[in-house]
Every structure is written in C-alpha cells, then in structure tokens.
C-alpha cells in the first residue's frame, strides 16, 4: 500500500510527465508555450529547466505541423506528447490526427505504430467564449484507432496519463481547464491506471449517474442533495471514453434500474448519446425508467458568465433530472 498525498490535478499531471520523461528517453513534449512559459495552465512549469529544450520543445503556432511531427516522430520510434492548447484547436490538426495517426497502424496492415499522446484542454466556465470553451472529445471518440481519456481526479489523471504515454496507440488526453485545482490523494511513485477501465466513484442503490471529467464533481454534489430525498445515487466514471468500459456502466444500471448520463460535450450527437444508447440496448430489461442525458446546451458557448454557466450541466439540473425518474414508490 503506497503512500499518498494530496495533489491538484495540475500537479498530478506534471508529476506523471516528469516521471515518464525520467523513465523513458524516447518521451518528449512539444507544444506552444509549454517550455519556457511552462504552459498556459502552468502544467509543464519547470520541466524544460529540468529536462532541457530537446525533451520539452516550444513549438511555433502550427497545430497541423506539430501534430504531424508528432505522428512522424512516433512512427520513427519516439513517444511524443503533443500539447494542443485548447481542444478547439484540434480542428487545425484534424488531418494529422484523424487521417494519419488514427489510421496508420491499420492502413499499413500493422506495420506502423503511432505511440503518440495528444494532451488537450476542454471545458467552459472562464468566459473564454465559443472558440476556447468547447469539449470536442466526442469527435475523437468517433474515430476508430484513437483512444480518448478523460480523467476526473488527481489520482486518475496521473495513472491514466502514464498509461497513455506507454500505450502504443495514439491517445487523446482531455484535461478540464477549470478543474486543474481539484485536489485529491495521489500515490507517490510509479503506478498506472489501465485505459478502458471505468471506476465507481460512489456506490448507491437507486440511480446511476454516469459522468465524465469535471461532471464527476457535479455528480458527487448532486448525489449529496439526492440523498436527502432518500435517493441513493451511484456514480460511474468511465475514465476512458474510447474504448469504453461498458461492463461497469451496465452492471451499475442493472442494479439501480435508472441512469442519467452527464458530459460536457454538446448534448447532440455526443458521448451521452453513445452511452445512453448502449444502456438502452444492453440493459433494456433492467430499466425502470428511460435513460436521461445532460450535456452542454447546443449553442456556441457565450462569453458572459450569466449565459455561459447556463450552458454547462449544473448540480441542480442533475438533481432535478434524477428526481424526475422516481414516483412515490421506489
């Protein structure tokens, strides 16, 4: 049983990067402002000093070029960790990620490997407006050949990032920009959390809340409120959205009979639709109520806080939606 201490998600990610850079000489970081400046969110602070410009590279503003470089370097035996500063900018690198990285192993019949990690930032809530506040992980999850990871706690962030770096497939690692300050216990030293395995963050009896990334914190708060209604909520964190750990979600819903899926991507055509469809299909006979979804409102994310905060699923919305699944008898 290893020692733990409280770290923020930011610190946990930095620790993972540090340990992996230390451990494996083929690992290097590349991104805009990650070196000298330590990253816009300060995640990579101190890393260039420690490991040098060769291992922690400041890149020009060339998302396509940087991502492409990452693909080529990965194919040639390195383990690049590319940072795309806001996931909104994935759009500029889409060909490299979707048409090249995701498909090269398959298209070459297994010859090429692309052990690339793309770290990128998601989430609204700091008035960054429509082009800096999206959560586009559904786009990545849609593409065969990519793995998509969304950590929600410091412990998960460190363990999952290490696994992502050691994975021989291209992994897109989404960090919530508003949650870097979330604190939690993190094991000291080396440990990994496998990709594709979900986690029950809270056990309960009456309703399953499936939530990703920062929505886990929202769900945990909502569960507290619901418990005063006598509703005991179970919270399932998939942690990896692709490949998805269906079993953990399904066995929870089979137990409780009710599900609410909460994700910060736009509601339409996203992660919640996929998970809800899987639940409705494979846990149909165990459902005591229809499966509900909560996502970001289908609007370009507005700047003004009064409007912006309304687009993100809130504790109240989760509580209300969950309550609506119950009659007087349960």
């Amino acid at each position: 049983m290893s020692e733990t201490r409280d770290l923020t998600i930011a610190e946990a990610i930095r620790e993972a990067l540090t340990e992996e850079l230390d451990r494996d000489p083929t690992v290097f970081l590349i991104g805009e402002d990650i070196g000298r400046a330590g990253g816009t969110f300060n995640i990579t602070a101190g890393l260039q000093e420690r490991f040098g410009k060769d291992r922690v590279m400041d890149a020009p503003i060339s998302e396509a070029g940087i991502a492409g470089l990452g693909v080529g370097a990965a194919m040639a035996g390195m383990r690049p960790v590319v940072e795309i500063m806001f996931c909104d900018f994935l759009t500029l690198a889409m060909d490299q990620i979707v048409n090249q990285a995701a498909k090269l192993h398959y298209m070459t019949g297994g010859q090429a490997q692309v052990p690339l990690v793309i770290r990128t930032m998601m989430g609204a809530g700091r008035s960054a407006a429509a082009q800096h506040s999206q959560s586009l992980h559904a786009w990545m999850a849609h593409i065969p050949g990519l793995k998509v990871v969304l950590p929600s706690t410091p412990r998960d962030a460190k363990g999952l990032l290490k696994s992502a770096i050691r994975d021989n497939n291209p992994v897109v690692f989404f960090e919530d920009k508003m949650s870097y300050g979330v604190k939690g216990p993190v094991d000291k030293g080396d440990y990994t959390i496998p990709l594709g395995v979900g986690d029950v963050k809270r056990t309960g009896e009456h309703v399953t809340l499936v939530a990703t990334s920062s929505m886990i914190q929202v769900a945990l708060e909502a569960a507290e409120v619901l418990s005063s209604d006598g509703i005991s909520a179970e919270i399932v964190d998939p942690r990896t959205v692709k490949p998805l750990d269906k079993e953990t979600i399904l066995s929870s819903v089979k137990k409780t009979g009710r599900a609410v899926v909460i994700d910060e991507g736009y509601l339409s055509y996203g992660v919640t639709a996929e998970i809800a469809a899987i639940i409705s299909d494979e846990a149909f006979d165990w459902l005591d109520a229809p499966v509900k979804r909560l996502g970001a409102t289908d609007v370009p994310i507005p700047m003004a806080p009064a409007l912006e905060l309304a687009t993100v699923p809130s504790i109240e919305q989760v509580v209300e939606t969950a309550r609506g699944l119950f009659g007087r008898r349960f």
């Binding site: 149909f284 006979d285 165990w286 005591d288």
Partner: protein, 454 residues
C-alpha cells in the same frame, strides 16, 4: 413468427381454467393439433393443442396455476426464434359478464384498465421482467411511477400483497386503500364476487363498523389451508352462488316404489339383451322426469341474469343431468333429448356417460345444456335429502333409497317399498303449487308407470 398458446374458451360459462399437466416441455418440437398441455375447466379435463408447427417456447404458467380465458400459457416458435418479449397479451381476460354473472359483481375494481381508452399497459422493462418472473398480470398492478408507469416497486408491492393475502382475495383498489387507512385485511370478510374483499368492505371497516364475523374459533395454522382447484373449486363456487342467490324451497313426497322395482326387474333382461347395459332405477327416473317435463313445461326453465337484464328463459329441449360423484368432485353429465329416447337408449347413454366420467374422458358437450338435474343418493343409504339447485336450472330432484317402510293404507300399516323424492325449487321461477303439481305427477308416473303409454 411466434404463435400464442393460450387458455381457450371452452364453454359459454368458462372464465378460467387450471393448468394440470404440461405434456410438452420448452424446446420440444410440436406439430399443429398436437396436445401440449392438459387443463381442467368446468368439471372437465381438456387438452390444449399446439396452434402451429414449431418449437414450444418457455412455459409461462406452472402446473396448478389458474389462468383466465385468453391468458398466455406459452408460444410456438419457429426453430431458432427467440420468444417474444413479454407484454400483456391482447387476449388478457377481463372478467366477462355471462349469463351466470354474479349479482352486484364489481368488475371495475378488478381490471383497472377496462375502462381506459388506451388499453396499453405502461410499465418499465424492469417491471415487466419482474412481473413475468412472478407470473403476475400487469393489468392488476397499480402504477406509481412518473407518467403513470408501472415500476418495479409496484410489482413488488403487489406481489407482497398477494403473498400476504394468498388465503383470501382482495381487489387492488381495496388493497391500496387498506394500506392507506391502516386496515388489517386479515380481519375482513369480503362482499365482492366470490368473497373478494372490495373497497366498500375496507371503507366500512375503517369507519369502525363491527366485524361481520367473530374471531374464528378454529385456529388456522399458516400454510395448512389448501385453496380449492379444478372441479372442486368450480363446484364450490357454483354451489355458493346457487345457495346464496337462489331462493330455494323444498317439496317432498314419499312415493310407493313397488311398481318401480317390479318394472325394473321385469325389464332388466330385455334392456340387457337390447343394449348390453344393466338397467338402473336412475334410468327409469330419467324417463319419468323427461315425461313430466314435457307435461309441465313451466318447470323446464332457467333463471338468466347478465349485466343488462335478468329473468326467466323458457327452455325447449329436455336435457336431464345426472349428478355423479367422482374423486375429484361432483359432475353432472347430461342425457340430451331424454324425452325422445326409449328406456334402452337412456340406459345406454347413461352407462356411457358414467363410464367415461369415471375414466376422466368426458367431453364438454357431455356436460353442457342440462335443463334439469337428478341426484340419486339412494345407493349410499340416504333416505331423503335436499339438493342445491344446479344453476341456472329451476329445480333439482333429490332421490333417496328405495326401502321397505311402514305405510298406512286404509287404516292398515303395511310394509311397502317407498322412495322419498325431494324437489328443490327456485321460487323466482316457480311457486309452490307449480312445483307441487310437477312432483305429484312424477310420483304418479312412478307409482303407475303404464301412464307413460298415454
């Protein structure tokens, strides 16, 4: 394409049947017309046939269960086909109003959906699954879920109620009301159909009305009570209904049986030679009853009651039922058109019916259409008894044993063979005089059989 195997309607009055024995198991190949399950209904055992060629699906109802007409028993599936997901069958029976509908039946309490325009039952998949596992019909369950959906907890609650109340019947509305008002159902007597506890009973109890029965003096050990099934259940129900709803009065006559016994002895070899059958007193009684019914058509009538009207129905055929005791209970096979049969024919027919009854091979048509019932307990040493009318008939004739008894004739006491005839009469259909005339004529015909020639 799955084909339903359901409890068929066998007979106008049938509302439910008991599953006796599955002849085929899930997964067996069946051909159309092949018997799949034995059921018991209305005093007869019948077989339900496979409606199509294929493979028998999961058995939905276990042996011993009582299923309403139309209730789903199983499916015949195409090979490799999966059984259909359970939904309330379109043929789910709502208690039907028949000519034997009970007075004051509270149908609306028993099938909540019957009045709805939308007859789909809204239930969550989880609730449906549980209802299927527990063999509970969803239409009986009250919904508490959002949007009027039946949820798992509703099914569990209903099942718990049924378990607690397995000894007596309660309507769902009454059950819920009792839960709300804190009334102990165990202490109530039901006034609903077949003794069901209904809403009014609960309300009355809640209002503080005294219990209609004192605490039982017989202690009942939990688990020892055996609910009636099959023939016995039907008999019990019918007798209760008859006894409680039909105003009976009774007419008795002691009839000289000398001519009767002499005639029988004389005709015994003749009938034997003609039919191979042993002529009985019952045969002669049937002949005599038939004649009397022809002469007194007012006795050949039925009391009919349904949801819209009630009254007297004149019957045209003379079909005489012979009450017969079997191990399973009382059944009444019927000799149809007894007025048109010779004594030999009656004897032949009677022998055939009794033999088949004992072998359990009676068909429904053997039991249908009776207009008059004859019950003879003479062979059991009974002198005289009052029988309960077999509804919807107007009378029943109870015959005791032929015995030498002291009879006073012209001031002298003689020993003569006599037989007591007791006629139970439905006072709605016949009054005392009409009954008396009929019985008197019967007595005359028995005492002077040659009157039958006229």
């Amino acid at each position: 394409m799955a084909t339903e195997v359901y409890m068929p309607q066998l007979g106008l009055t049938m509302t439910e049947g008991t599953v006796i024995k599955w002849l085929k198991m899930e997964g067996d190949t069946v051909t159309q017309g092949e018997p799949v399950v034995e059921i018991e209904t209305d005093k007869v055992a019948a077989e339900v046939e496979a409606p199509a060629d294929g493979v028998l699906g999961p058995i939905l109802v276990s042996e011993g269960s009582i299923v309403s007409v139309g209730g789903l028993l199983s499916h015949v599936l195409a090979p490799g086909e999966a059984p259909p997901a359970l939904a309330p069958s379109a043929a789910e029976a709502v208690p039907r109003a028949t000519s034997e509908a009970l007075p004051g039946s509270e149908i609306e309490e028993l099938s909540p959906s019957a009045d709805d325009n939308d007859d789909r039952v809204v239930a969550s998949p989880r609730a449906r699954r549980l209802a299927y596992e527990l063999a509970i019909e969803l239409t009986n369950i009250e919904a508490s879920g959002p949007g009027g959906r039946i949820v798992e907890a509703d099914v569990r609650w209903y099942a718990d109620q049924m378990k607690a109340q397995s000894v007596f019947l309660v309507s769902p509305v009454a059950s819920r009301l009792a839960e709300e008002l804190g009334v102990d159902l165990a202490r109530l007597e039901g006034t609903g159909p077949r003794g069901r506890i209904v809403k009014a009973d609960v309300e009355r109890a809640a209002a503080g009305a005294s219990l209609s029965t004192p605490s039982p003096t017989v202690s009942v050990e939990a688990g020892k009570i055996e609910p009636l099934q099959g023939v016995r259940r039907v008999v019990a129900d019918r007798m209760t209904q008859s006894f409680t709803s039909t105003p009976h009065f009774y007419l008795s006559a002691e009839v000289d049986a000398m001519s009767l016994t002499q005639m029988r002895e004389r005709l015994l070899p003749e009938v034997e030679a003609a039919t191979g059958v042993h002529l009985t007193v019952t045969d002669i009684l049937v002949k005599v009853c038939a004649q009397a019914l022809v002469e007194f058509p007012e006795v050949n009538a039925a009391w009919i009651e349904d949801a819209s009207e009630s009254g007297r129905l004149q019957l045209t055929d003379v079909n005489i039922g012979i009450a017969t005791a079997l191990d399973e209970g009382l059944i009444v096979p019927v000799i149809c058109h007894a007025d048109q049969l010779t004594l030999s024919e009656i004897a032949l027919r009677r022998a055939d019916l009794i033999e088949r009854a004992r072998a359990g091979e009676l068909k429904l048509e053997d039991l249908e259409g009776g207009t008059f019932t004859l019950s003879n307990l003479g062979m059991f040493g009974i002198d005289q008894f009052h029988a309960i009318i077999n509804p919807p008939q107007s009378v029943i004739l109870a015959v005791g044993r032929i015995q030498e008894r002291p009879v006073a004739r012209n001031g002298v006491v003689l020993a003569r063979p006599t037989v007591y005839l007791t006629l139970s009469v439905d006072h709605r259909l016949l009054d005392g005089v009409q009954g008396a005339r009929f019985l008197d004529r019967m007595a005359k015909l028995l005492e002077e059989p040659y009157l039958l020639m006229v």
